[in-house]
Symmetry: C2
Subunit: 317 residues, 2 copies
């Protein structure tokens, strides 16, 4: 029974899993990311986690795959930049391989999420899809012919920064009107705070009972699911804007599916149905019949499970 270790490195936590070829997690390990202690401490924590998981493995471990939040240089095994970790030019593959003595591989965290969905989640039936994660930012992994497409410079998949407004809100990237400014977690919060001040539905919304600091994509989604009209209106707007981005992808790449994950996607059909609607309305005949917008199937373990699939020889196709 061949196994692999997947490690999901985040800005706040590290989650490691021992994964079998069915995508099942046989053992999991979690700890806080010691960001403030520097890269050396984070790398040591990851290596120790991998060793612990290997020692608990009931069969041979083929290697370690890692999902990393940042821009990576695969040739040198280096993290070029990671704003979440405050890293710049940090060698990662070499040090982990040196300490644990297993083959290692890495990919950025959203692409690793896409790989998880491809091999073990909603993407299993499809060879060509977009996976997007709506969280603090909006990232994506482009799957073409059952492979992650990274592009000639490794930059492909910045779905969150395609323009959906000609003007619009300023984005962290420096541009304006990016999809991310409309559908990320912070965008849902901003929309809700604004709606609470301005919407005629605000008076009857349960969101009014929350302190402003607790207005988030999660609490708005919960209110929407409970039938709150203001929250539902916000989610419809978010879903419609998400649909404009997906519309661009359908026109350009004509995929089999678009799979939506991340915290904002916990709203489920409350955002996916408006996205489907605008795609069906606005795509040409021949394309609109093919709209398939699905929720991600893997939850919090997606990153680690997806990372495990990076290990050479682990996935059997």
């Amino acid at each position: 029974m061949a196994l692999a270790i997947g490690i999901d490195l985040g800005g706040t936590g590290i989650y490691g899993a021992l994964v079998d070829r069915m995508g099942r997690v046989l053992a999991g390990e979690e700890r806080r990311t010691p960001v403030s202690d520097g890269p050396e401490a984070v790398i040591r924590a990851m290596a120790e986690m991998a060793e612990t998981l290997r020692d608990r493995a009931p069969g041979p471990v083929l290697g370690i795959g890692m999902g990393v939040p940042g821009l990576l240089d695969h040739e040198s095994g280096t993290v070029i930049t990671s704003p979440n970790l405050f890293w710049r030019d940090i060698p990662l593959l070499g040090p982990i391989r040196g300490r644990v003595g297993l083959p290692v591989a890495m990919e950025n965290d959203v692409r690793v999420g896409a790989l998880g969905e491809l091999h073990f989640g909603a993407g299993r039936p499809y060879a060509n899809f977009l996976f997007t994660a709506l969280g603090t930012g909006v990232g994506s992994g482009i799957v073409l012919n059952r492979q992650i497409y990274t592009g000639p410079y490794g930059t492909a998949g910045e779905f969150g920064h395609i323009p959906i407004r000609s003007g619009g809100v300023r984005c962290n990237c420096g541009s304006r009107g990016c999809l991310e400014t409309q559908v990320s977690g912070p965008a849902v919060r901003r929309r809700a705070l604004s709606a609470l001040l301005r919407s005629r539905l605000a008076g009857e919304s349960r969101l009014r009972e929350l302190p402003p600091s607790e207005i988030s994509a999660r609490t708005v989604a919960e209110a929407a699911r409970a039938g709150d009209l203001l929250a539902r209106q916000i989610m419809t707007q978010v879903g419609t804007d998400l649909g404009l981005g997906i519309l661009a992808y359908y026109n350009l790449m004509g995929p089999e599916a678009v799979i939506v994950g991340g915290g904002v996607a916990l709203a489920g059909d409350l955002i996916l149905e408006p996205a489907r609607r605008i795609c069906r309305e606005r795509l040409m005949p021949g394309l609109r019949e093919r709209v398939r917008i699905l929720p991600a199937e893997l939850g919090d373990e997606a990153g680690a499970v997806g990372a495990a699939t990076l290990v050479p020889g682990f996935v059997l196709e």
Copy 2:
């Protein structure tokens, strides 16, 4: 000296060329498309053109490649729909092969233009680029790893229908705010007619001297090149909107280049420079340095030369 025949089938004309492996046209044939006589007459005209070219060939002809304006079924060799030709479910490959007795292949006209640029034009140095043709419509061919990417359903490349306005002008496709509504030939004409009524630059514009029926992308481009301020302003707006579409493509696919052809692109840097500017302004660091927006190099022969590259064994890589 192996040769191939490329045929560019358009709604008004058919252009055929005998092409060598350097992309040179050794002989050309042109005639009006007998659209009103029905598909049989058009197919006969194409077959006769191919036979004439083969008879003039100084070496072996490997086959016939055809660029067709429409949606194609490659398995059955059928044109599913072609609005320009008023065709629906017309077998094309079988009849041409049967009459001429050479291997045949076909692809849609814009993809064939992309292949021409890939093998013999501005795309030669690049493995991953978008070719877009700004004409009556706005089509594109997506080149990944030196191959046309058609997507799982053959629909990829509808660059003209990505949304760049959340509302905006209604498009022929049924949607609103599509790139095509802002940068196609008819869009340039519409912008010019509107500007002549409203702009404070209209009084001094030489476009006023033209009858409205002669306002077109071509005459506006000519005026712009001659220094006409109103025409330049229009081309800057067109280029900026084109840049928003290209921005979406850079974010999603991170290509090496975007190559712009078609009648509207005759304005050259008057539209390409505003497109480059908005991409450099709005892309993230790491992407913006890579912006490369180039004019197409092949002119009216692009379709036929590109079509010739469809012939199996003709292109040597």
